[in-house]
């Protein structure tokens, strides 16, 4: 065990996605906010599911998607998250292990079912998410294996994990272990409504516990309660060592003190489903960062991985990202 080394350990809510098509009228009738993630209970999950179109099921969960992306790029990755020992839990466990990710968190043997996220994809390719957390609320500090955290160059955590109280404690424990071992801690803000719920706690945690922050434009503006991206950018420079700010079709900005790297988005794709865009940007960046690439190159790998995942339904890569990266590299050198 102690000999294992990881580029990144990802910690998050272990979720199976249920993906269906919907139109804007359906979102309106159900009172859903487009592109947001809403937490729902089991009764609401059953009510909403009954109204949804036929779906496809795929493993998801923000940090799980990131872990699968890192592994697909050839990175060494571990994942920490909580499923129940049910059919959806078996699917989640199979898929993340089959991706090449180390996943050893014990499954719940009683209580709530494996989490699911009911994802509605509108014709404009935006996804609106409704999450029943289920077994995820039982992830706690006891699930953090200090050996794995110490052996990881980066420990990456999703802001969504702040929702279950035990998750927050697991989160803090992992960050302390990582820093005590001289490793890095990374956080994604996950969702602007999630930032609304925990703004002050997030700000405090970022200042003292985070080395690499991931946020999209809405999340960043929400964090600093501003409508001005440049103002938010100025604020984050002083707040965290490295900030990776994703801006959809405008690409991304990597901020590191006085330096800023502009990463263009890949415009040459047909966007089908934006689920997982941020997760896969993080995957590409973290793969690059932990494998000796500079910040700009790491950002380009992130943009490539994000472009792949939004070109199809589902939040995990549909192709071998390592091969894709090598093809792109060959193309850029030719």
């Amino acid at each position: 065990m102690t000999e294992r080394m990881f580029d990144t350990t990802c910690i998050g809510n272990a979720i199976v996605d249920v993906i269906s098509k919907a139109d804007d009228a359906f979102l309106a009738a159900e009172g859903l906010t487009k592109s947001a993630m809403m937490l729902i209970d089991m009764d609401r999950a059953e009510e909403l599911y009954a109204k949804m179109e036929p779906g496809i099921e795929m493993s998801g969960g923000s940090a799980g998607n990131t872990a699968a992306g890192i592994a697909s790029l050839g990175g060494r990755c571990a994942y920490v998250g909580k499923v129940r020992d049910d059919q959806l839990g078996d699917i989640f466990t199979h898929d993340i292990r089959a991706s090449g990710v180390t996943f050893e968190t014990p499954a719940l043997t009683h209580g709530a079912a494996t989490a699911r996220c009911l994802i509605l994809v509108t014709p404009d390719a935006h996804r609106t998410m409704n999450t029943y957390l289920g077994a995820c609320v039982e992830l706690g500090p006891e699930d953090i294996d200090p050996e794995i955290i110490r052996a990881s160059k980066v420990t990456y955590m999703e802001g969504y994990l702040w929702d279950p109280e035990n998750g927050k404690q697991a989160f803090r424990k992992a960050a302390e272990i990582a820093h005590a071992a001289g490793q890095r801690v990374s956080l994604t803000l996950s969702d602007s409504f999630c930032v609304d719920r925990y703004r002050d706690e997030f700000k405090e945690f970022i200042r003292h516990g985070v080395d690499i922050l991931f946020a999209n434009e809405d999340e960043l503006k929400s964090l600093y309660q501003t409508t001005d991206f440049d103002a938010a950018l100025a604020a984050v420079r002083d707040h965290v060592e490295i900030a990776c700010l994703t801006r959809s079709e405008k690409g991304a900005v990597i901020v590191n003190g006085a330096d800023a790297h502009i990463i263009p988005a890949d415009r040459d794709i047909k966007v089908v489903d934006t689920t997982g865009a941020g997760d896969l940007f993080a995957a590409g960046f973290l793969y690059g960062f932990t494998n000796g690439h500079d910040l700009a190159s790491s950002g380009h790998i992130g943009a490539m991985a994000a472009a792949e995942v939004i070109s199809h339904y589902g939040a995990r890569p549909a192709v071998d990202l390592k091969e894709l990266m090598q093809q792109k590299l060959a193309l850029s050198l030719s």
Copy 2:
């Protein structure tokens, strides 16, 4: 209840598909016959699944796919099949009902889990299927609602249902009820190995109980134990009133006594996954046949539905087939 009318009732094994990519070397290492369906037990299902790539899950089952296709075309369809009251059973039940299909077979409340089919899709788009029948073996004559069968212009059954003994009895009961009510009975041969298992019983049943037969080239040759398609064609003419013979990229032939209608395949598509091709051909044909179209037109609708389903992963339509049919019709008239 008695006022309901259906174009078609489909009876089959209720299965959730688990779809992964694989290469030919994997098939060889696992001793799998490409393009065939193999029955496996739970231990083998777990062993094989553990070796498979990350998957996507979608409702499947041959007759279930046909039912979903008929409903997508705007047809009135009922489905009979057996799931367990577990998470995969909930997914199957949700999806077929959300497709617009009437599905009232009670779920098992104990015993075997909902059936799953581990589908390996090779780069040549062929699918190789490994089915754990689970709860399907409990489908029996008591699950056949005479009211629904009498109210259906066609009762359509998959040959795979011959595998579980109770299913065969359900099958025979449904055929008798349909014929007593002056309705039609249709059978698909499902798989050449399935034909091998039940050749004599199938031949007998076709002669006395089937009005419309669906078969692909391999299945037809297996039925008549010949390597010559024309010989098989001559045999089937005398055997059944209407035979719909699918020949992959060579299209289909609809045989009705002395008449034969040649239906070209849609060559203008990129084939991604052939799963469901036969099921959706049957859906299109049966929709047409039960809605006043002649045999050739019904065959063209079948070819259109089959072309749609092989252009993406999964065995159920990804678009509204009624809209697609109307677009094709408008195009052919312009």
